[in-house]
Symmetry: C2
Subunit: 206 residues, 2 copies
Amino acid sequence: MTRAGSRLGTAAPPRRRLGRGDWAAAALVAIGEGGIGALVIEGLAERLGATKGSFYWHFKDRDELIDAALDRWEQEETEEVIERLRAVEDPAARLRRLFELAFGDHPGGDIDVALLADAANPLVAPVLRRVTERRLDFLTTAFSDLGVAEESARYHALAAYTAYVGYFELRRAAPSATPTGPHAREYLDHLLRALTPAGPLPVRPG
Amino acid sequence: MTRAGSRLGTAAPPRRRLGRGDWAAAALVAIGEGGIGALVIEGLAERLGATKGSFYWHFKDRDELIDAALDRWEQEETEEVIERLRAVEDPAARLRRLFELAFGDHPGGDIDVALLADAANPLVAPVLRRVTERRLDFLTTAFSDLGVAEESARYHALAAYTAYVGYFELRRAAPSATPTGPHAREYLDHLLRALTPAGPLPVRPG
DNA sequence: GACATTCCATACGCTAGAGTATGGAATCAC
DNA sequence: GTGATTCCATACTCTAGCGTATGGAATGTC
């Protein structure tokens, strides 16, 4: 058969040729939806309007794709976020911004949770460990900058990070029990009060 | 072949015949170790010193075993715990005891986390939702009994529960980053201060 | 102690999905 | 435009693990 939709447009868009990046991106989406287990080569191929043949030209095997997707995740959802937050001068504002980003509507939380679900996977484990420690260190420093004592800052960081992780886990376990709409913001306020040391540190003051 | 170890003891203990309960218990252990995916019939059979033949006599299929294991979990790790906590009169003591149980060394947290990992599984989803809402409701009431206003009590419950879930997720993601030994207790103290409304509510006062 | 019933082992069929082999289309180099 | 290179589709093989079929052991029953 000649390539589907190569001449007259079928449902699929007249696609260009694929590269490793396309596969890695699609893989990360799949992981976000159903974890490593949902990363099925022929499934991705269909989404991309291709077949296994393409995949096995770009990648040695499935593990190599997983690695590529995890690299991408580590970069986009941790390093780049941290980099962006460095730009915020005021420690309180930086922390507040971090909370807003973390609990916001981006798909990051879902990927996080999906990867936590595959924490036992030998490919996932080291990346997950690295990312978790990196984030915790950043959080610890953030609380330190706020004036919290060294030891206490670590506990604040742990509490904040587990609140974040737990929130997205809860959303999967019982979406109806998760605060939505105005309640979401109220809950975030509540969290900020509980998790930050001194004052209320209101979100978007004014 | 005659049954292994039926006369002279080999490595395996001279086992009695198996019942549904044995399979369900083994299944729950397997789930705790690796989630639903780790629940492999022939694997469990080997652990129990039996074969598939036995399993398919007691159960229609794998799904039926999963159901049985989930039932067991819901009963042991939620209903029975709640029942036990009802016995504690003082609201503050009850909440403190709950925290101690939750963050204690029982394997419950690991099973919780494993099932959260399979939240998308159609067999797991309804049980998980039920259990989560049940626990949240109990927590909400617990905070209410402590004198927290209705709406606020819900947020307290959410924060406490996500802290619990997040803690065990963190332990899987980066065990080395999780507080251990004396730090574990210090962190628990920190959490109690952050998550409970009024006073410090010390663990095991005195 | 023979028969029924309960329980289980062995040997098989079946499917999903990873990975391979190979020919051919697209694109580039000149 | 023709040869080389890059990219991809099709048609396989192979394995893990679910489920089934069937005979036989263990245990109860009278």
